[in-house]
């Protein structure tokens, strides 16, 4: 049976990650995104063109990749919510999270930890991109790194914009991290990789498990998915930096 890989978010980082993973014959990919293609994101969605504007990203990507894909492809165009998260990731071997908002990032992190599903988290802003892979109970989790959603401000993401090639690079890092998790390699799980396009630097920080982590610590307080935990400002990405 092929490994089931669920991609949550098919924007600038999920898209290139999907392009890479679609060439893997040993997996079946699920594209989960309720967003539609807009003209303003075409520059970081290289498989799309004019005719895809207005279409669901998940459906359009499946259609574009199907003729050459070696992986099995399927599509879900609903939004990941606290109510649907558990079912959406059920049976997954790895969940790849490349969403553009903190609420979804923490929701995926929590749902994966509770279901003991490995996950890969990517993000990009301005000239910087990060990738973190998580092996539940073995490596640090997303909440060991960032305890909770930012309150109030959204760290200038909407004004900072994004340098499109950084998103492609983060997508590549996430695809490789997914392969490593699937192969049970002594991977970079629990290590955050950061790329800065301004000086071309890669930096890695080992994230240690925190004993007081609310999700994976000794006395976890997050034992189920509670909607109230994911109410936070979303972060839309706009122009180039």
């Amino acid at each position: 049976m092929s490994a089931r890989v669920v991609l949550v978010g098919l924007g600038g980082i999920g898209h290139p990650c999907a392009l890479a993973l679609a060439q893997c014959a040993d997996i079946s990919l699920v594209f989960l995104d309720d967003d539609r293609v807009e003209r303003s994101n075409l520059h970081r969605l290289p498989a799309f063109a004019e005719q895809h504007i207005g279409r669901y990203k998940a459906e359009a990507l499946c259609e574009v990749l199907a003729p050459s894909a070696k992986a099995g492809l399927s599509v879900a165009t609903e939004r990941l919510t606290p109510e649907t998260a558990a079912a959406a990731i059920a049976g997954a071997s790895v969940v790849v999270e490349g969403s553009d908002n903190f609420a979804t990032k923490f929701l995926v992190a929590d749902a994966c930890a509770l279901a003991a599903v490995p996950s890969v988290h990517g993000a990009a802003i301005a000239w910087t991109g990060t990738a973190l892979s998580v092996r539940p109970k073995q490596s640090a989790c997303y909440r060991c790194l960032f305890e909770d959603l930012p309150e109030g401000e959204s760290l200038d993401c909407s004004s900072a914009g994004i340098f499109a090639p950084v998103t492609a690079l983060v997508g590549a890092l996430m695809a490789q991290a997914t392969r490593d998790l699937l192969a049970h390699k002594p991977s970079l799980a629990g290590t955050i990789t950061r790329f800065d396009a301004r000086d071309g630097s890669f930096r890695r920080h080992v994230v240690r498990r925190r004993h007081d982590c609310a999700l994976c610590g000794d006395m976890p307080s997050i034992l189920s998915i509670d909607r109230a935990r994911y109410l936070a400002p979303t972060c839309a990405m706009g122009a180039s930096p």
Binding site: G9, G11, G12, I13, G14, G98, S99, D100, N101, F102, K105, G122, A123, A124, I125, A126, W127, T128, T130, L145, F146, E147, D148, L149, P150, S154, L155, D156, C157, A160, I162, T167, V170, I192, R194, D196, R198, D199, R203, R204, H205, V206, V207, R208, R210, C235, M237, P241
Partner: protein
Amino acid sequence: MAISVRIPASLRTLTQGKEEVAAEGATVRAALDQLDKTHPGIKERLVDDKGVKRFMNIYLGDEDIRFLDALDTPLKDGDSLTIVPAIAGG
């Protein structure tokens, strides 16, 4: 102690676009206090009354200061602090 601090993209509006700035202090706390004098407003983006903000990380070299002595972590000349905020976007 003269140290350097790497500033993430989301905070560079407070450092006139600079990726790296100099600071002085015997501890991380002292260095952030001094940094806040040269770049007003930066400290409140990084710490609150409980310590390093929950969606921020400060690394001394490769180590999260939470696993050292947090804000009381001692610094020596030439040390490098890196600020890593949670980021969304893609």
